[in-house]
């Protein structure tokens, strides 16, 4: 049983996601594309992934080596025959659990070689034959991983909800925490940093989802998602002083410096490390889409934090603190202020930034009017049937 669970965990090969993503980046950034290509091909041949091999060659325009493809396909066909035989045998001779094992083996096979549709079908069949909650959840988690592998968001979402429903009734904490990590990863993909941060930090003490990514990467994601969404107090308590994070944070360059410089208000250093992290984000599949947003949020947090202490501050001294030019600062501030993210006003003639305290009553009034008016329009549409 255990060996099967381990086998199930190892499919599909998540490293391939990262390698495939790296191959799509510019040649200037990724200089060792040849090595990555070799790695991909090696794994493909090792696991005999015939369908994956042909699809990835098509995508990147590499020549399909007919020899390798034929050998892969042959070995696939052989394995398939063996599996089908074993299924037939167990259906005739053995009991329920043996049949389930046979089906599981076949579904794992399809998943391993990268045959999405058939794998999903067979997983569903195995699911119907599975009894124990833990094993059911394991199957669902494999399907979720397939969703990540093939970039199929709806697959991920449906299976996440079913897994959560099943786990509600059980008290399997290990699997519950693993599902949290999956959910956090999914939220990260959808740019919901706050939710992702909450999920990650909840499960940080008992991180066992090594099949998705290793512990260092997990810390990397948690820190980045929390730095952009948590207020200072929570940040200090949950992230900066958290022992689990402290163990692994040194492995990621610039990450702890970023965190500490923000907390200690060392803005010049903060910007330097922010740029480094920004470049690093480009190499990660999920974070690269959100790196501009992340950068923008971090700048807003930094400026608001700085301005909280002042009623008015000269543009010159502010620019010096941040280590940037006045024109750059002016552009940034005007952009964020008119977007409503920072509560201040620039006096360009005097070269001063004056902060305005947000008046909650007025803000509330404006909110009510803004949100209430569309709702009133909709009520009016309903009211038409009265006449």
């Amino acid at each position: 049983m255990l060996e099967e669970e381990e086998q199930l965990k190892l499919t599909p090969r998540m490293e391939l996601i990262q390698y495939k993503f790296l191959m799509t980046l510019d040649d200037e950034i990724i200089t060792n594309k040849k090595e990555i290509k070799e790695k991909i091909l090696k794994i493909a041949v090792e696991d005999k992934m015939a369908p994956y091999y042909s699809s990835i060659c098509k995508k990147f325009g590499w020549g399909v080596d007919e020899e390798t493809l034929k050998t892969l396909k042959n070995s696939n066909a052989e394995e398939l025959k063996k599996l089908n035989e074993s299924i037939k045998n167990s259906e005739e001779n053995d009991g329920e659990s043996e049949i389930r094992k046979a089906y599981l083996a076949k579904s794992v096979f399809y998943c391993r070689i990268g045959e999405k549709e058939k794998a999903l079908e067979l997983f569903n069949e195995t699911f119907n034959k599975t009894v124990s909650i833990g094993q059911k959840v394991d199957l669902l988690m494999t399907k979720i991983r397939m969703g990540f592998f093939f970039d199929d968001i709806s697959l991920v979402e449906t299976n996440l909800t079913s897994a959560k429903v099943i786990l509600k009734k059980s008290s399997d904490w290990e699997r519950k925490n693993r599902i949290k990590v999956y959910e956090g990863y999914h939220c990260l993909k959808l740019r919901q940093f706050k939710k992702a941060a909450n999920f990650f930090l909840d499960s940080i003490a008992t991180f066992t989802a090594n099949e998705l990514f290793d512990y260092t990467k997990f810390v990397y994601y948690s820190v980045l998602s929390s730095i952009v969404s948590f207020p200072r107090t929570d940040l200090k308590k949950k992230v900066i002083d958290a022992p689990e994070i402290l163990t692994a944070i040194e492995e990621v360059p610039h990450l702890s410096e970023l965190l500490n410089s923000l907390y200690d208000c060392q803005y010049k250093d903060f910007y330097k490390h922010l740029i480094a992290i920004y470049d690093g984000m480009e190499l990660d599949k999920i974070l690269s889409e959100h790196r501009l947003f992340f950068c923008k949020q971090m700048r807003i947090i930094a400026y608001s934090q700085f301005l909280e202490a002042y009623r008015s501050v000269t543009l010159k001294s502010m620019a010096e603190t941040f280590g940037v030019s006045i024109t750059f600062l002016d552009k940034e501030l005007s952009r964020f202020i008119s977007g409503g993210k920072i509560h201040a006003k620039i006096d360009k003639v005097g070269g001063v930034v004056e902060t305005t305290r947000a008046d909650s009553r007025n803000e509330g009034y404006k909110e009510i009017i803004k949100i209430g008016d569309p709702m009133l329009n909709r009520i009016q549409k309903l009211a038409r049937i009265l006449n």
Partner: protein, 505 residues
Amino acid sequence: MEHTTLSSKDLITIQDLKEHLSLLQKSVDEDESRYLVRVLRKLSITRRRINPQILAKLIEESLKEESKTKSLLVTIFPSTLIKEGKEEEEKKEMQIEIEKEEEEEEEDKEKKKQQRNIIIQAKYPEEKAYLQLLSLLQLCKLKDYENALKLCEFSIDFIEKKNRRTLDSFFSKVFFYYSRINEILGHSKQIRKKLLSAYRTSTLRRDVSTQAVLINCLLRNYLQFNLYDQGDKLISKSQFPPNSLNSQHVRYLYYLGRIKAIQLDYTESFRCLREAKRKAPRAGARGFRLSVNKFLCIVQLLTGEIPEIELFMEKDLQKYLQPYFELTSAVRTGNLGDFKKVVLREAKVFKEDQTYSLILRLRQNVIKTGLKKLNSAYSRISFEDISKKLQLDSSDSVESICSKAIFDGVIDAIINHEEKYIKFKEMGDLYSTLIPQKAFGQRIKFCLNIHNTAVKNMRFPEELLKEQEEIDTEEGKEQLKELEKMSTNNEEGKGDFDQGEPGNL
């Protein structure tokens, strides 16, 4: 047009068309317009199923030899289209009949059998008009516009002479195609007079559908040649019939919206276009929806609001709305440089959509939005900086632009002329004024009004009403039975004087 035998599907279509003709006859006989409406509602489905062979056969069988309709239609769809496979046809018809018999119930069997073998002779002009309309649709499908035009003119004369109200819907459809065919052939200018006189006649005769169609045709005609004044005059002098078809109403709103936009009445234009969009079909009519969305976007920008992103997100239209989306982003950020770039790049698209002139007016809006943004970010800023930020050409014009903006109420500010800067006024505490009170009061009044109207309009639920009705009818039935009993008792007494009619008391 090829000479082929009629397939079984064609034969079924012919039977259906014959049923349509009989429905039309019935509609005239019983003076019930709903059969006619039913036939015309199916028109969009019917027109996909017809082909020249079907029409030829139908014309051959249904029209009398002497009718002028027949003589014209026969030249277009000659009966020689149908091959001489008469025996095969009869066999096929028999087969269809047998198959259909087996499917249907016994009661309908006899009736359907009788109906199917009848050869309908078109005795009313409605049926002839229907056949003309079908031929017209077919010619348009085949893009044979010369013949179509001839048929149109014939049809118009034919229907006009008859002056029957039942022909109104046909008249409107024929006019629609007449106008469209002339537009394709490039003769729009010449038909304007005819359309106007036809409109006058239809108003006199209270021909609602034709009125609607003609107004729309005329407006389209004027818009094609940019005669916005004339269009406006037409609108002001005429009254669009309120009880016309939804499709015509939608078109009217669209043309109205476009004319109003050119005349600088942006709020009114926005209202019309938005209604047109709401009443238009959800799927289908893609070209129309696309055009409405484009104008909606531009007009909303001209009123000073930014269109919501959902406007650009409809799946099948997304690709075509891309230039407008870029335009909106440029206006939203107040970035004059981007705006100029987009306009230059997509000039061809905009000219095709006839939105180019409206877009040129947007330049002011870009500047206004830019100023508004500066208003929210700065408390004081010099003219030089403004001209740099807004990418305006000279800093002299900045002062005049700002003063105009203040005058128009776009921004709330004071210009300091000597020191060459502009000082934006503080928003201040709204709660120290009476504004919140008024605003809230208005909205509360509105909600209470709706609540009162809703209470007044409450009715008993349907089930209670139905039960009441049932009880009533049951009582009525019992009463009737008693009456019958009484009458038969009476009759038995009388003898054989009154035979059998219970109503004779």
